[in-house]
Amino acid sequence: MTNAHLEAVEPAGETTHYVLHLYVTGSTPRSIQAIANIRKICEAHLVGRYDLDVVDISEDPMRAQSEQIIAAPTLIKTLPLPLRRFIGDMSQTDRIMVGLDLRAGGAAIPTERS
């Protein structure tokens, strides 16, 4: 079986636990914005069922290498599968929510652009 087979099987339900890694570079405005935006989304839709690990790659560049990060800020949804990546300040709520399998569409959560 390939990863593609595994990734295809588990649709996210309302009890699914999310493991997210957000890679940022210090306290730049976009990093700060990305952190704030993703935290808002999580607290609105994943209360009590998510782990968000914020990684500063300016402090720990090797973490960037192990996760094949090429730009920051980058959010990686490790669980549930499939693994997904999102680049930017996380202000495009609809796209991120669809990518996180939280909903197909609907009202956007107000997030901010720096």
Binding site: A4, T25, G26, I35, V54, A64, A72, I87
Partner: protein
């Protein structure tokens, strides 16, 4: 069919793998496009490029980003906790010191609201209002409050909060620099408790305490008892030197004391005269200590009023001398009693008679000791000597007389006389049968020469016969008691019973001060 399946299956699997790989590549492609889009739309801060020495970070935001990063690095180094929040009160920055202080990691805290890291408690509701007012009006606030960590631990903190603004001047968040002052506060609280405790000791002490500046020799503090001891109000003591307040009236002696104190750190004077503001003199003991207080020397002078102790010592000395004198007297009396008892009477009963007489003396001594040699009440003396007949008192033995205190000498002699009279009454007189009575009375007779009058009158006993010879008992109730009070005795062997009477100048028999004793006058019948 089976053959066909056997041929088709690998093809089918290969097709599925290709579809899956295609899907994966499409996702990667979408992600690559996403990355390019993000870079194009300026949503990316930095690019990570693999190099021979590992990943290398290229920031895309020029000088501002570098300056920001530099500031971030500086904040990370400071020992105070630094936390920045955005206008929604979400944490956008937390340094290592803040992670330690609140027991959270940056990854947990970033993007979270403040209550996730700590709750606030103000000392007074007005403090919170004042803080918000300062932040709104001045853009900054500095003050103290309590931060409660998520594990419940409370921290006393001193915070400095500044409003962050963008180039347009719009508030974008706040930056707080927080210092943990919990230990300092605990120390301050301990100091406060200690201050209250020792201040109470200082103020309630029954020793006078002066605090003196050794540089100027002037008093800088005094406790309330000191003002009481000297009779000066507190304000009059402060700024004065010791010789000015009646201690070491000689300024030179006072200087000598300071010199000794500086050499040895402590001086003690067991008996110094102190002159109160009223001019009255008082004996005091002075102990002075030199010690350091916040890097400067101070002298603590404890002054104890020893007048009472001196009086007590004098009284003990007087008592010791009195006891010595009494003991010598008593030994002389015992010697005389033993000699006279042995010289007269039946040798076979010598030990019994001698023992009884010494016992009578002992009763008188006990009463004297009980009254600290200040004499003995007549009623107590009578009851003591008649203790063997206590059950007869009130029936066959009656006592009457006012409360009068005999001098020690009179008590000793009259006590011995009463003992002889009682012994005689039991052996030969009114108490030797079942009907006889004894009436003991005493009184004072006023006049130019007030007189003490005491009598022992027996009645109802066996018929009285006048003794053919006078023994030592007769001497005791006669000459001995007369000599002790310069009085006169009458001894009559009346047919109805023995009558004994003593009259003496009151000053010789009755203690002058007649210290108040609670005993009521003997009633007609005790």
């Amino acid at each position: 069919m089976t053959h066909k399946v056997g041929i088709d299956a690998p093809d089918h699997l290969a097709t599925s793998a290709l579809i899956a790989e295609n899907a994966r590549l499409q996702i990667r492609l979408a992600e690559a496009e996403e990355t390019l889009r993000a870079i194009r739309t300026d949503e990316v801060d930095a690019l990570v490029v693999q190099s021979a020495v590992g990943p290398k970070l290229y920031t895309l935001q020029g000088l501002d980003a570098e300056i920001m990063r530099f500031r971030g690095d500086m904040l990370a180094q400071v020992s105070d906790a630094v936390i920045a929040i955005d206008k929604d009160e979400r944490i956008t920055y937390i340094n290592a010191a803040a992670e330690d202080l609140y027991g959270v990691s940056a990854s947990q805290a970033l993007g979270s609201t403040l209550p996730r890291v700590y709750d606030l408690r103000w000392f007074h509701p007005a403090d919170e209002v004042a803080a918000h007012t300062d932040l709104d009006d001045l853009g900054e606030w500095r003050g103290e409050n309590i931060h409660i960590r998520s594990d419940g631990r409370e921290l006393n903190v001193e915070s400095s909060v500044t409003v962050l603004r963008n180039i347009g001047g719009e508030a974008t968040g706040r930056l707080a620099v927080v210092r943990d002052i919990t230990e300092r506060k605990q120390h301050e609280n301990k100091l406060q408790v200690s201050e209250v405790r020792y201040r109470r000791l200082f103020e309630a002490a029954h020793d006078g305490i002066l605090v003196i500046d050794p540089g100027t020799s002037k008093i800088i503090d005094a406790n309330p008892f000191m003002t009481q001891l000297l009779g000066y109000p507190y304000s009059d003591l402060i700024g004065k030197e010791l010789f000015e307040i009646g201690l070491w009236k000689d300024g030179r002696a006072s200087q000598d004391m300071f010199a000794k104190l500086k050499l040895s750190g402590q001086v003690r004077y067991e008996n110094l005269p102190l002159e109160r503001v009223s001019g009255e003199h008082q004996d005091v003991e002075v102990v002075a200590n030199l010690y350091e207080e916040n890097g400067r020397s101070v002298i603590q002078c404890n002054i104890r009023d020893i007048s009472e102790r001196r009086r007590s010592e004098a009284h003990v000395e007087m008592l010791m001398a009195e006891v010595n004198h009494r003991a010598k007297n008593l030994l002389a009396v015992v010697q005389a009693v033993a000699y006279q008892t042995a010289r007269q009477g039946d040798p076979a009963t010598l030990m019994t008679r001698l023992s009884e007489r010494i016992n009578g003396l002992a009763i008188g001594q006990d009463l004297l000791v009980k009254n600290q040699w200040h004499g003995v009440d007549v009623a107590d003396l009578v009851r003591g000597q008649l203790a063997h007949f206590a059950d007869l008192i009130g029936t066959r033995v009656s006592l009457s007389g006012p409360t009068l205190r005999l001098t020690s000498e009179a008590a000793q002699a009259i006590g011995m006389a009463l003992h002889e009279l009682a012994t005689n009454a039991v052996k030969y007189g009114a108490l030797s049968n079942l009907e006889g009575c004894v009436h003991i009375a005493w009184k004072t007779l006023p006049g130019n020469q007030p007189t003490f009058d005491m009598s022992w009158v027996e009645s109802g006993g066996p018929a009285v016969t006048v003794p053919t010879h006078k023994g030592f008992g007769h001497t005791i109730i006669g000459r001995l008691v007369e000599a002790s009070v310069q009085g006169v005795t009458q001894i009559a062997f009346e047919p109805g019973g023995l009558m004994w009477r003593l009259t003496a100048p009151m000053d010789n028999a009755i203690a002058p001060a007649n210290p108040a004793k609670s005993a009521s006058p003997a009633s007609a019948v005790l």
